[in-house]
Amino acid sequence: MQIRLRLFATYREIVGSRGLTWSARDGITLRELVDGIVTKYPRLADHRGSMLLAVNEDIVSAERVLTDGDEVALLPPVSGGAR
């Protein structure tokens, strides 16, 4: 199945693209997908633990099972804001 990836900020720079299509086996989880992406782009490994993961515009658990055509966004960590 095909997963659409959206990449932002540092991740975009590492991968060299704002978005790409990723081929994955049926039933893959978000965590497994990201593992595969990190394997292909090792510089993402440093960010692996802090990535925010969104599927179809919602932040979701890494255990989410993906389906064909899902849009996955890898987002840098965020916090705070009211200071």
Binding site: F8, I59, V60, P76, G80, G81, A82
Partner: protein, 208 residues
């Protein structure tokens, strides 16, 4: 009006967007880029669909929570220089009389209400506190030698958040005018969930 845009924010238009004949007060909050040490500008980028969705939800929650009649949120994209307007939030309220409890929330003294709003910000099916994305690059001027720091991430020396909200100052300024409306704004800005709604990812980037 809920929008993220590259163009300069027309504050008058944001104000006009919440005008209603039955509103007794309008409060406009403008977030600007602060001149922290070495900061020349902030670059914002956005995952637009999520940002619009989250900002819309935030406005609806604020209306419900604080009885706001109309609310607009407009955020800049791209590079905003120090002193520039990065976000404008306008609220129109029916009455000027304030919700004291809300004031306390805005002033950071009511953790209960903060938690309440924070909980409300997390809709069903959304896991985790952070929902939407307006990312940015914090541009700093720094001696070239310093740029060698952080070899793994030469362009991302740090992650900082930037929803710049001088809560106490704004509260003082507006509290005597229209507490209910101001409080709504300040409450949202003060509550961590606001940062969840308008997520600012700031990367520190050395600028030659």
């Amino acid at each position: 009006m809920i929008d993220v845009r590259r163009a300069r924010i027309d504050l008058e238009a944001v104000l006009d967007s919440v005008r209603r004949d039955d509103a007794g007060a309008i409060v406009l909050f403008v977030g600007t880029v602060r001149s922290d040490e070495g900061i020349r500008a902030l670059d914002y980028e956005v995952y637009r669909p999520m940002a619009i969705k989250s900002l819309t939800a935030l406005a609806e929650q604020a209306k419900e929570k604080f009885g706001i009649a109309e609310m607009s949120i407009v955020h800049r994209l791209g590079r905003v220089p120090v002193g520039g307007d990065s976000v404008a939030i306008a609220c129109a309220g029916i009455h000027r009389a304030g919700d004291v409890r809300g004031v306390r929330v805005g002033d950071g003294r009511s953790q209960t209400d903060r938690a309440d709003l924070e909980d409300r910000s997390r809709g069903p099916g959304q896991i985790g506190p952070r929902q939407s994305l307006i990312g940015g690059t914090r541009l700093i001027s720094r001696a070239p030698a310093a740029r060698s720091e952080g070899p793994q991430r030469p362009h991302a020396a740090a992650l900082i958040v930037v929803l710049v909200v001088p809560v106490a100052g704004v509260l003082t300024m507006f509290a005597v005018v229209a507490p209910a409306v101001v409080v709504a704004i300040l409450s949202m800005m003060a509550v961590r969930s606001v940062a969840s709604m308008v997520v600012m990812v700031i990367r520190v980037v050395p600028v030659v």
